[in-house]
């Protein structure tokens, strides 16, 4: 039976049988790029967001203030440029630009990772800034009041709480990255979308190939969103807590359970 004689489902099965390995490889590349780049993007985002929410200390001299202002300006430019232009063009710009102007051949992987990370970083910077600003100033004051330095206050108190608050947004970014790696096909990265184009080009079965590839994309994104939700719940910790006592009667007396409604233990 040739492709022409098959019906829709037979063609899908045929694609999976013939190109299953390439599809899996493409999916793996997509996931690898998405996960690595979301992680690096978060690091960039946290670094940029931290600098942008830093107020110069009152004791700082003119030079320090000026330097901070210059760095902030530079970072703002970075955020605005990368948020404000299409990633597909950035990919072409960086990949072909580096080889043409600097004579550097980045290679598929490094080019892909640089472009997506830097892009994610630009979005994450704003998210982190919002996350830091969302933390009650009292948290900071509580930390300063027991003698924590600015760095300790941020690392131990403010950032962990901001991280929890922006987890949904990090998940959003991961899912966007899974899908948006498809623009890398412009520089020849063999990811899931590139595989789809190869298959459809070879067999002229656009509809079936698209269906199969969409299903794979959906499985990837859906699995990720569930896993992230699970991580969020883990971060919140259990709704109940146990009293630190060896007295077993304290547990059976029933006054130890946290009451969601009243917000107390009594």
């Amino acid at each position: 039976m040739t492709i022409g004689e098959m019906n829709f489902f037979q063609r899908m099965v045929y694609i999976v049988q013939e190109y299953g390995a390439s599809l899996l490889e493409g999916a793996a590349t997509t996931m690898a790029i998405a996960i690595i780049c979301t992680a690096i993007g978060c690091v960039i985002g946290f670094a940029v967001g931290l600098v942008q929410t830093t107020e110069p200390s009152k004791k700082a001299g003119v030079v320090k203030r000026g330097l901070l202002k210059a760095v902030k300006l530079l970072l703002t430019a970075y955020v605005e440029v990368f948020r404000g232009t299409p990633m597909m063009l950035q990919a072409a710009f960086i990949y072909y630009g580096t080889s043409q102007v600097f004579g550097i051949n980045l290679g598929m992987w490094s080019a892909a990772i640089i472009i997506v990370s830097v892009n994610t970083g630009a979005y994450m910077a704003e998210t982190v800034r919002g996350g830091i600003l969302s933390i009650d100033p009292g948290q900071k004051e509580g930390a300063r009041a027991i003698g924590m330095s600015h760095v300790q206050t941020m690392m131990l108190v403010v950032l962990p709480q901001s991280l929890r608050n922006i987890m949904p947004q990090i998940g959003n970014n991961l899912i966007i990255n899974i899908k948006d790696t498809c623009v890398l096909s412009i520089i020849g990265t063999v990811e899931l979308f590139f595989t789809f184009r190869s298959i459809s080009g070879a067999l002229y079965t656009y509809f079936e190939a698209a269906t199969v590839t969409m299903i794979i994309y959906f499985i990837l994104t859906f699995a990720c969103s569930r896993i992230l939700r699970w991580i969020e719940n883990r971060m919140d910790g259990p709704a109940n807590f146990d009293l630190a006592t060896g007295d077993t009667l304290a547990f059976t007396s029933g006054l130890t359970r946290y009451n969601e409604k009243t917000g107390g233990t009594f």
Binding site: G138, Q139, E141, G142, A145, S149, L243, A244, G264
Partner: protein
């Protein structure tokens, strides 16, 4: 008694608004000083200036003879000596009760985990919260949170403890449990500076009372003198509203 803090000609302005004007007073070891006065009289700002959460605009704050405002003293070290309890508790939401009391000891005072834990348990026991070490702040009532906040401040072994309206955010039932803890602390010889609207506490527990009005110290004296024989007209006016308390 040895003097821990001396405030001299302290001033604070927000823009053109003078919030503190020429504040002078001193805190000696073992003092329990209540600062009373109507809202907006500068009581909280005074405490926040002493703790350097606000930058004073003028004057001096001497900690054991050294001016903390001249920039030579390590601000963070100074803050470990002058603890603070806030109206809104400010417990760290990302840590449980025990970690709230140990994190400063471990990272700021560089104590070992065991030592920090032992110290935290001692003070959590004192405020009656040692059974709740596994709870997160969101799982506690207001009064419980404030008791943990007091234990957290005490765990740093401060020389003075500043209380910024510690019971104002609590409903009447919970005020009592926090005041009881503060009474015990006062009796144990802790040096305390308390901004409060609890006149009974000011009258019965403190060794000295400072009445503030309009950014100035209007009157300062023993509780008996302030409550029974106030010299200033304003003090008399203010206290008359609390008669029968």
């Amino acid at each position: 008694m040895e003097e821990i803090l001396r405030i001299e000609h302290l001033e604070k302005t927000f823009g053109t608004n003078e919030v503190l004007k020429d504040i002078d007073f001193s805190v000696r070891k073992g003092d329990v000083i209540s600062i009373i006065g109507s809202s907006g009289s500068g009581k909280s700002t005074l405490l926040r200036c002493i703790n350097m959460l606000e930058e004073a605009s003028g004057g001096r704050i001497l900690y054991r003879g050294q001016n903390v405002l001249d920039g030579k003293l390590d601000e963070d070290r100074y803050r470990t000596k002058v603890g603070m309890v806030f109206q809104s508790f400010n417990l760290f939401n990302n840590y449980n009760v025990l970690d709230n009391c140990t994190i400063g000891q471990i990272h700021v005072l560089k104590r070992s985990k065991e030592e920090a834990r032992a110290k935290a348990m001692e003070y959590l026991g004192k405020v009656g919260m040692d059974l709740y070490i596994n709870a997160k702040p969101r799982q506690l009532s207001g009064g419980q949170k404030q008791r943990v906040a007091i234990a957290r401040a005490l765990s740093m072994d401060p020389e003075v403890l500043l209380f910024d309206e510690p019971t104002s955010a609590l409903d009447p039932e919970m005020v009592g449990e926090v005041l009881d803890v503060m009474k015990d602390l006062a009796h144990s010889g802790m040096t305390m500076l308390v901004v409060t609207h609890e006149m009974a506490f000011a009258r019965d527990i403190s060794t000295r009372v400072v009445f503030m009005s309009d950014g100035r110290i209007e009157e300062e004296g023993s509780p008996q003198q302030i409550f029974q024989n106030p010299h200033s007209e304003r003090t008399r006016d203010f206290l008359s509203r609390f008669n029968g308390d």
